[in-house]
Symmetry: D2
Subunit: 138 residues, 4 copies
């Protein structure tokens, strides 16, 4: 892990006060942790915009498993992209509906394509891709 | 499941043509499926804005498990909110970093609070809440 | 203007009912208008992701005009990009703060760069780029 | 204006290096300015989520002024909300299309309602509300 260093930030007193209230409401232990989170969030966003070499994500799907062939189709798409799909979790929400979350890894563009392909499948009612990072350089 | 009905949409020819190219690129089987997805996406967004009775979500966390006490703290927060956390999946990204995804259920406001609490924990490098639905009414 | 045509959408009865409530709350005159808005929103988003040839946008800036040299710097940046900046509107919010909105036109990538350059200027407290379209093909 | 004070941030060396590259690419003069922008962005977001007493915004509209009655309807809606609309700017994009930007002020919920009402009007092809602040407390 990288060495910790320290730098100074100059800021208006009223702005810092408002920020301190915010981080307390969000249960941050201290300002540094909150600032690092803001920085990491911004850098991850940039990595995705610039299609960085390696990113990590999760794809959340809500679907009705009674729709004909749906489970088969979803499984096929996932196997086709097995190099990018690390693992998945399945939750039975009710008689009809499933929540499935896939952990994915690869270039942002590839992960976006996999997500779009799954989300557009008939029977999938909602889907979302989370853009995150392997954590290594941030 | 609800009965299928049909309604008509009037639209400019050029706009429909551009939409057809878009849904083909996204691998939709037909227009109805793509339109239903747009509608559901909008309704789920509204449910979260209005703090609907019951929503479903996933919380994605990236963290360094070598940070002292982190695993203990994350587990405690999760047990405290066991009524809202359905299950979780864990992926070892490298020597240091973990990806954890929680499936959550409850009022949007509660799910947002749980996500904020987890994301602000020291050692959690990035986190995101996905706002979705149980699929039942959409 | 393009000719109006009509196409049919098949949809679950409960989903359509919920959508009808939504569009009534948003004051839409009819379903077609609401559907067209969802389609156009999606297509504009795609144009910006794919860096389409020509896009339109607005850049909103909040700044403190008492910050030394700020007005000069903002004017210089705007003149440097005069080919992309159509016009601007200025509002005096209070003794210190100004709201300025620029109407811009050009490739998405160029408009993003101009917005970033303005927003990062010392004294600019907040800024946002709106991604929209000339309206021509949608 | 509030007095400037200074606080220290501890951070991993690699993370700071990556952030320095980012702020250079975005043309920030120094780290403090970039950090303050991240903080203000977050606080403005919170103000809007919590429906703060007073917010500022801009509403961008793209519309086809040849649509019957559209200009009259848009003007009526704006006059009805004259207490919240500070001023507006109009750009003729081509023979048919107009860009209009309104500067608005008031409670977030009110501004959202005005934006929704304008955007759902027949003939308005696209619209976006920018959530910002009067700049006073940030």
């Amino acid at each position: 892990m990288s060495q910790l260093i320290r730098f100074g930030v100059s800021i208006e007193e009223t702005l810092l006060k408002k920020f301190d209230q915010h981080i307390q409401a969000r249960a941050y232990g201290n300002r540094s942790e909150a600032i690092r989170d803001l920085i990491r969030e911004r850098l991850i966003q940039q990595d995705w915009e610039e299609d960085a070499d390696e990113a990590v994500g999760t794809i959340t799907l809500i679907y009705d498993h009674h729709v004909r062939e749906l489970t088969t189709v979803l499984t096929e798409i996932q196997h086709h992209h097995n190099a990018n799909i690390i693992s998945s979790m399945h939750v039975h929400l009710d008689e009809h509906h499933c929540l499935e979350v896939l952990a994915v890894r690869g270039r942002p563009r590839t992960l976006i394509e996999i997500a779009n392909r799954l989300i557009s499948t008939k029977g999938v009612k909602h889907g979302k891709l989370v853009s995150t990072s392997s954590g290594r350089n941030i």
